[in-house]
């Protein structure tokens, strides 16, 4: 018996569907590329490339440092840190200074993710948390009109949501939805190209890497709330399509709200979660102090996620 070859003994099941965390993160990165490359790097040029590279690399570096400091296995290879860095860069203006990027990735990786125990443990979306903290701390760097002043493309370079806030509906008549879809608008590096984000979102939904219920409910929440505002007073509140295609709405719907660990998994909770996010986004935009409430709205729905987990189907054979 002892001369026998050793066999692997383990517990059932002995098959695996073949999915993996690295694959999942990689595909989310792929899905973000159209919006990033065509909408961001092409439009904003070298400064944007610098921000993206710095953001992705420092995010991975913070992850590695935290792995070392916490004496945990190195998890840089799973692609999650790179994804967080990429999404953060997509929300920043192309001219963001280096220290803002590094602080941003520090907040996202260390405070947003690793302190909670790493991947799967974070209660809040690390990217949304980081942008929210940066936005509150250095709000001038999120003033896209000021930051992108030196760009002079052939379309209106005024940040649409800022125009809406400052000049009301009459100010936004000059914008067209087709410009927003084609990325002819001011905004974060990867948040301007509507078609690219929609394509990426459709890819993620089709492949099952994100939960479609959340994205659709989020967009529906934005649409319905904006529509209600618009119906009550069309002179003060913009129409719903304007809200869907400007600011962080699309990237929020497909890339931020759908982050696995901070979102629910059951059908009804996902709908409530998404719709509440859309509602909060429009509330902040229309009657709040901030120009774009997407990241704050996402933090709020992250907060109600544990509560939503209580809404769940009755398990088989459970006697109440």
């Amino acid at each position: 018996m002892n001369s026998q070859k050793k066999l692997i003994v383990s517990h059932a099941p002995f098959l695996h569907i073949g999915s993996g965390i690295t694959e999942r993160n990689l595909h989310i990165i792929y899905a973000a590329l159209p919006a990033l490359l065509l909408g961001g790097l092409f439009r904003f040029g070298i400064p944007a490339i610098g921000v993206v590279c710095l953001s992705v690399s420092t995010a991975m570096l913070w992850e590695l440092l935290m792995n070392r400091a916490m004496k945990r296995p190195v998890s840089v290879g799973d692609g999650n840190a790179a994804l967080i860095g990429l999404l953060l860069a997509m929300l920043l203006p192309a001219t963001a200074p280096w220290w803002l990027v590094i602080t941003g990735t520090f907040v996202a990786i260390v405070i947003g993710k690793q302190i909670f125990g790493g991947i799967g443990g974070n209660a809040f979306n690390p990217v949304a948390l980081s942008v929210a903290i940066l936005m509150v701390s250095w709000k001038d760097y999120f003033d896209f009109n000021g930051m992108l002043m030196n760009y002079d493309p052939d379309f209106i370079m005024a940040y649409p949501l800022a125009t809406l806030k400052n000049f009301g509906v009459s100010g936004i008549e000059q914008y067209s939805i087709s410009d927003f879809l084609l990325g002819r608008q001011s905004g974060g590096i990867g948040a301007t190209f509507g078609i690219g984000l929609l394509l990426g979102g459709a890819y993620l939904i089709m492949r099952g890497f994100i939960r479609w219920e959340i994205s659709i409910a989020y967009l529906a929440g934005v649409f319905v709330t904006a529509l209600l505002f618009n119906l009550t007073d069309p002179t003060r509140y913009a129409d719903p399509f304007f809200h869907i295609f400007t600011g962080y709405t699309l990237i929020g719907a497909f890339f931020l709200a759908t982050e696995d660990s901070s979102s629910p998994v059951n059908f009804i909770p996902m709908l409530i979660y998404g719709a509440a996010g859309g509602l909060m986004t429009i509330l902040i935009r229309n009657i709040g102090a901030y120009i774009d409430g997407t990241v704050l709205a996402i933090l709020v729905i992250n907060l109600i996620n544990p509560l939503l987990d209580k809404i769940r189907p009755k398990a088989m054979g459970k006697v109440v």
């Binding site: 026998q4 517990h11 099941p13 569907i17 965390i21 799973d78 939904i205 769940r312 459970k318």
Partner: protein, 431 residues
């Protein structure tokens, strides 16, 4: 083998594989040089007066190890007892391994011929080790009577085709078995559960036929019982509590064959799945070491390959090729060391794939967090640990490759152990 489809927005459906058309009869294995019977009793309890090394046995002879009614094996080979050893089974179960070394000639034992009246006593005393392992214990509890017998014609796992073969080719035996089951147990309500795509038109078989979905895990006993009873079985209630009892199709065929031929059958039909995934049926004597089967099929085992008894979702892997074929061994699955999916210690990322796939509607993402931390009581109280059907789908789809199924089994085992220890202490203090 079965991989995620490109499109992932709907939940994947895991199908039972139907039997290929060309399968006819299982290939019989040549007579083994020795067989090992695993008898469910601790080796320390073996009574020397009943059994000793060196005893001669005939094929089909009952070998009782103790005076307890269930502690026996049926010799599947004529020869001499060459070893009686302790054999630790899975989850702390104790068996005694009785090894028979073949004699030159094959002689049949005729003790069962005199006891072949179809009575409960005879069936329980002789047939518990027949292929398919029919258990008559549920009929010995008078305060929990059985009103429905379910003959399970569904294979217990993917890729397995033992039950499908039995339904397709041994219907006469099953029919006889159902007749004898009625006589033995007095239960008139017998339901035969079959796969949806099995052939129909069985004719008058004395049982009502119920077809099951071809999607895994619809063939698990609890799901079949719920379909037959048309209600959910409350957690903590056994099949016995609900008045139902299961026999596999092969067990019923064995009962039919035993009482018609007045001989206890000991040839087990096994689905053999090689490393390439080719499936074939073989017929081996119970107790045949798996090494014999591998030799017959000229399988070369490499270091770190895996041998699985049962199917890919719920089977168990073994560490030695000397492990014998048992009465309930429906399938033997080989995996090449390159094909083995390993588990990881990554945390749950809350993707929800398991929750969407769980047939028992358990919040696996929440449950696994408690199980990983060892909070088994909370898991059982608030997160429906006891509702688990043990189908293995959660581990199969897990993106983080967490061994969720193993955690669940461990938790159930630990809770069971603690509960039995508590009862033991209570009884001790009562005395």
């Amino acid at each position: 083998m079965i991989k995620r489809s490109f499109f992932g927005f709907t939940t994947p459906r895991i199908q039972y594989l139907p039997m290929p058309g060309q399968v006819t009869t299982p290939a019989p294995l040549k007579r083994p040089d020795n067989v090992t019977l695993l008898v469910p009793c601790p080796a320390g309890d073996v009574d020397d007066k009943l059994v000793q090394i060196g005893d001669h046995v005939k094929s089909g002879q009952k070998i009782s190890l103790t005076s307890a009614p269930g502690a026996y094996g049926i010799a599947s080979l004529s020869g001499t007892l060459s070893a009686i050893d302790r054999f630790p089974g899975e989850a702390g179960r104790e068996y005694t391994a009785v090894t028979i070394t073949a004699a030159e000639a094959e002689t049949l034992d005729n003790a069962f011929e005199d006891r072949s009246e179809p009575t409960l006593e005879n069936a329980a005393a002789f047939l518990a080790c027949a292929p398919g392992a029919p258990s008559f214990e549920p009929f010995t509890e008078p305060d929990k009577p059985i009103h429905t017998i379910i003959v399970n014609g569904m294979d217990q796992d993917l890729l397995v085709m033992t039950a499908q073969y039995t339904l397709a080719f041994r219907m006469a035996d099953i029919q006889a078995g159902i007749k004898f089951l009625k006589a033995v147990t007095g239960v008139e309500n017998i339901v035969l559960a079959t796969p949806r795509d099995a052939m129909h038109g069985y004719g008058e078989i004395g049982a009502s036929v119920m077809t099951m979905d071809a999607t895994y895990p619809s063939g698990l006993p609890k799901l079949i019982a719920q379909k037959v009873l048309e209600k959910e079985i409350p957690n903590g209630k056994s099949f016995q509590d609900m008045g139902v009892c299961f026999f596999t199709a092969e067990a019923v065929a064995s009962i039919g064959r035993a009482f018609s031929d007045r001989q206890i059958p000991f040839e087990k039909t096994i689905t053999f799945i090689d490393k390439q995934g080719n499936r074939s049926l073989i017929s081996a004597r119970i107790g045949t070491p798996i090494a014999d089967i591998l030799k017959e099929y000229q399988v070369s085992l490499e270091e770190k390959d895996r041998i699985i008894i049962g199917g890919p979702m719920t089977g168990h892997s073994i560490f030695s090729t000397q492990y014998p074929v048992q009465p309930f061994t429906d399938a033997i699955l080989l995996q090449d060391h390159g094909d083995i999916a390993l588990t990881s210690d990554y945390p749950c990322i809350n993707c929800g794939d398991c929750v969407r796939m769980c047939p028992a509607r358990i919040q696996v993402n929440l449950l696994v967090r408690f199980l990983e931390a060892g909070f088994y009581e909370e898991a059982a109280e608030a997160y429906d640990l006891s509702a688990c059907l043990e189908c293995g789908i959660c581990s199969y789809v897990c993106v983080s490759k967490i061994p969720i199924f193993q955690y669940i089994r461990l938790a159930k085992h630990e809770l069971g152990r603690v509960a039995s220890e508590e009862t033991a202490t209570e009884e001790a203090t009562d005395e």
